[in-house]
């Protein structure tokens, strides 16, 4: 019964993606109500199944339910054994018994104290946002597109949250990234959202690359991509890894890089306010609530690695603290409500990261859930929130601006720093992107000259 519920949790958004994908590809004319009702049905089914699993876990005191759909891809070890002999391949490859799979991609989902709250939160918030968006985007030309991307996002979040293997988590992680970038560029007849969407995607791709290398390294080190295998015998958060500390630091740093990209930690914080170019419902559910917490979720999921390496935990705390200071300063000078809320989100996310680095496990989880719900509410009522804020300032009689000359000078420097958002974007552009593209553009010019000369043409 629990297996069926687990399958329903994953299957309902997958069916939604298939339905919306096919109808979009065939350019079928589907009424708005059909889209919103299908989404509601998928969300309710998945939510009911997730709540069922939670109830069963509470009743039976079972702290981990695994649902395996079998090997998606399986390559037996016999061949590699042979190749190992032939080419001097790795000893681990050669030592596998013949009937043991050497490479297997298992579709496995794990419901534990971390994933179940995340799955339920995802369903609740996506359900609320889809109901909100069905009115907010009524008769908008991109209504179908929005719901298609939302379904991809929902599937990606559920796969990431309930993943039982690092590869399945990566599967969902990528879907979240793509849907996020496309939704930032939702109003695509304007240049701004498109440029910002591409920027978000670029950061995500680099974070994904770090994730993929980390996942492969982990797979290589632990011999399996299963989280249960990684965490040894214990269930989350009590698992323990049996990997050399040096390797833990390397793999952990890769995952930290991935988490920093996904959760907009320093130095990647610049994309978060840019992501607010998308429609308000997507901003609320993606960057205020769910997607921005995915990096923190990853850190919680690999918490056995953090427990194994104090240096890695220290790096997590440092990164969180740096982001917190930066976001606090930047949030105070924003002049529009969505940017202000974006940095407010970032402050909370960075505090959550610090909590994770300090060794807390349940506290950040509770923090994530509380923060996600509050921020979704704030973002969907952003226009009226501004009005509320003005009323509050009026009631207080204005904000005190009196400062001494020394304070004023320091204040101005900090103000400039905050207004420029710490120059993070320009530093990345100037010192990473520009040298890289300059070399490539020079190469392109040289190649063109060379082919022109070779073909006897003058360009």
């Amino acid at each position: 019964m629990l297996t069926l519920a687990g399958i329903l949790v994953v299957l309902s958004p997958a069916v939604l993606v298939a339905l919306f994908g096919i109808s979009t590809l065939l350019r079928a004319s589907v009424a708005e109500t059909v889209y919103s009702r299908c989404t509601a049905a998928a969300v309710c089914t998945g939510l009911a199944a997730a709540v069922w699993i939670l109830a069963a876990m509470l009743i039976t005191d079972d702290r981990q339910v695994e649902v395996s759909l079998g090997d998606w891809v399986r390559i037996p070890a016999g061949a590699e054994h042979h190749a190992g002999e032939a080419t001097g391949g790795s000893a681990s490859a050669g030592s596998h018994p013949v009937d043991e799979p050497h490479f297997h991609f298992t579709m496995k989902f794990m419901f534990d104290r971390l994933s179940v709250p995340f799955v339920i939160m995802t369903y609740v918030l996506c359900g609320v946002i889809s109901a909100f968006a069905s009115r907010y985007l009524h008769r908008d030309g991109g209504f179908q597109r929005f719901f298609l991307f939302l379904s991809f996002f929902l599937l990606g979040m559920i796969l990431s949250s309930a993943a039982g293997t690092i590869e399945t988590l990566f599967f969902g992680w990528e879907l979240v990234g793509l849907s996020s970038a496309l939704l930032v560029a939702f109003f695509h007849d304007r240049r701004g959202p498109v440029v910002n969407g591409l920027r978000v995607w670029s950061i995500y791709r680099l974070a994904d690359a770090a994730f993929l290398i980390g996942a492969m390294s982990l797979h290589h080190l632990s011999g399996s991509g299963d989280f249960s295998g990684l965490a040894g015998q214990g269930v989350w958060p009590e698992g323990r890894v049996d990997i050399p500390q040096q390797s833990v630091l390397l793999v952990g740093c890769l995952f930290l890089f991935a988490a920093a990209g996904k959760s907009a930690l320093v130095p990647f914080s610049g994309w978060l306010p840019r992501a607010m170019e998308g429609p308000t419902p997507s901003s609320a559910v993606f960057y205020g609530a769910l997607s921005v917490h995915l990096g923190a979720f990853l850190l919680l999921r690999i918490s056995p690695l953090l427990d194994r390496s104090p240096v890695l935990s220290g790096l997590v705390v440092l990164l969180g603290a740096a982001t917190c200071v930066f976001a606090t300063m930047a949030a105070r000078v924003q002049s529009d409500i969505k940017s202000s809320l974006a940095f407010a989100s970032l402050i909370q996310v960075s505090i959550i990261v610090v909590e994770i680095g300090l060794g807390f496990r349940y506290l950040p989880l509770i923090h994530i859930i509380g923060h996600a719900c509050l921020r979704t509410l704030q973002l969907v009522r952003a226009p009226s929130l501004l009005k509320d804020y003005n009323s509050m300032i009026n009631a207080l009689g204005g904000v005190s601006e009196h400062r001494s000359a020394v304070e004023q000078s320091r204040y101005q420097r900090m103000y400039r720093f905050a207004m420029n958002r710490g120059n993070l974007d320009s530093v990345l552009d100037e010192f990473v992107v520009r040298p890289f593209t300059s070399v490539l553009l020079w190469s392109d010019r040289m190649e063109r000259r060379w082919t022109s000369w070779l073909s006897g043409e003058n360009r």
Binding site: W72, I75, A185, R205, L454
Partner: protein, 471 residues
């Protein structure tokens, strides 16, 4: 003893498009010529699929045609042989030719020659089933002819293309002549190995001898360029002509240069201002990934490379056909501005994104598992190589979305005529998308088949290595 297929699939599959090419050349009406070409390419695809299915039923590592007419005519053994590595490649190539012919708009028929295309198809199919080194060199030389004729007809200079291809062929011939007898597991001498390696690098378009590819894409019709590149006969030639006979240093040189090409081309794709050049570097990056994976010394990595070979063939052809469809509406596509095509061709926009993402191994597409296997294999043997592969893939992902944004977003293009995609164009790309998604959601049969091929290749290498150490 090589097993025999139940029908001369290979020979009929080669002769049929050749006859079709002759017939099309006689037809003055280009629309009728296209219809004939579609029929011939469709039948050729059926034959190629039949050959694949028959080979699977035979269940051996290698098989030759029933009756083997080539042997009777030439008196030489095993000229046209299909093996585990090449079994799906003729079917893949035949599909690519059919879909390219099918999606050619009537307005482009005067530029895109059906007879030359069918001639190319015949040559490609013969190349992919040829095991005789000298005949393979002849076929690689003949494959150069159709693009050359087209470049001349279009009044553009074919010099860059001809210099590179000519040099490749001369080096191949010289290398083979110096090679001597290697049938008993012998190895090429230093000079011979160097010549063969240089020939392989030229043909595969490895940096720094890759400029012919961009030149061809800029000057030839997009269809001809796609069909010359995407069957990846260069990689096939490297597998059969170069890797089995050259020493380890030469294999490593090809692998390292391929890897550099993969990363360099991925970066170059990111800064291109012309869609054709962008496609060129994207393709080059992917084909180099395949080439570098083929030189890996473990089965997992090689399985990944063979899977990526198939996925790149499907996805980048679909991607190229989508760019071609857009180009046929708005002319050459500049990527330094926004074209706003989404409102006119939303289906093409979706297909562009899907095929592009499939090429980088996005989850749910045919390339996902292949890329995972390739990176896994690399990380196991050379961690730095794995890092480079991931970097190349990340850069390719960024450039694909950048191109999508530039072509399909922006202020909607104002047009007095309908720019909607035609049924034949949609059909071609949708069929590829179905294969891409089907292979992505149900990857086990494809992976198992490629794994078996990789295992057999490894065994073959092992036998050769053993023969070298115990002559």
């Amino acid at each position: 003893m090589i097993q025999e297929l139940h029908f001369p699939w290979l020979e009929v599959g080669i002769v049929l498009p050749l006859a079709g090419a002759g017939l099309c050349a006689c037809l003055a009406d280009s629309v009728r010529a296209q219809k004939v070409a579609i029929l011939v390419a469709g039948l050729t695809l059926l034959l190629a699929v039949g050959e694949w299915a028959d080979f699977a039923m035979v269940g051996s590592f290698e098989a030759h045609d029933h009756w083997d007419l080539a042997q009777r005519l030439t008196g030489r053994d095993n000229i046209l042989v299909i093996d585990e590595l090449s079994a799906p490649l003729p079917a893949l190539s035949a599909l690519l030719f059919l879909l390219t012919i099918l999606s050619t708009l009537r307005t482009k028929l005067d530029r895109f020659s059906m007879s030359l295309t069918l001639f190319s198809e015949s040559i490609v199919l013969a190349t992919l089933s040829c095991h005789d080194p000298w005949l393979l060199i002849v076929l690689l030389s003949l494959a150069v002819v159709p693009p050359w004729i087209e470049l001349v007809r279009r009044g553009v200079s074919p010099r860059v293309f001809l210099i590179h291809m000519g040099a490749s062929i001369v080096l191949l011939v010289a290398g083979r002549m110096l090679l001597g007898d290697v049938s008993s597991g012998g190895q090429a001498s230093g000079l011979s190995a160097a010549l063969l390696t240089a020939a392989a690098l030229l043909r595969a378009g490895v940096v720094p001898v890759h400029c012919w590819m961009a030149d061809l894409l800029e000057k030839a019709t997009f269809g001809t360029a796609i069909l010359f590149l995407t069957p990846m006969t260069g990689a096939f030639a490297v597998m059969h002509l170069v890797l089995p006979v050259v020493p380890v240093w030469a294999i490593r040189s090809i692998a390292i240069l391929s890897l550099i090409t993969a990363v360099y081309s991925a970066g170059m794709a990111l800064v291109q201002k012309d869609a054709r050049r962008f496609f060129c570097y994207l393709f080059l990056s992917h084909s180099s990934l395949v080439l570098s994976g083929l030189e890996l010394v473990n089965v997992i990595g090689m399985t990944g490379a063979l899977c990526v070979w198939i996925s790149v063939g499907l996805s980048l052809t679909g991607f190229g056909l989508t760019i071609r469809a857009v180009e046929s509406r708005v002319g050459r596509i500049a990527l330094d501005r926004f074209h706003g095509m989404y409102e006119h061709t939303p289906t093409l926009a979706g297909l562009f994104l899907l095929t592009g993402l499939a090429s980088i191994g996005f989850p749910g597409t045919i390339g996902f598992v292949g890329m995972e296997l390739l990176i896994e294999g690399c990380v196991e043997v050379y961690p730095l190589v794995g890092l480079s592969l991931v970097l190349a893939s990340a850069l390719n992902g960024i450039s694909i979305l950048r191109a999508w944004f530039r072509i399909f977003t922006g202020v909607p293009l104002q047009s007095s005529v309908s720019l909607k995609s035609q049924f034949s164009e949609r059909f071609a790309v949708v069929l590829l998308v179905l294969l891409i998604l089907g292979g992505g959601l149900w990857p086990q049969p494809g992976v198992a088949s490629r794994h078996h091929a990789a295992k057999s290749l490894m065994d073959l290498r092992h036998q050769r290595a053993a023969a070298k150490s115990h002559p």
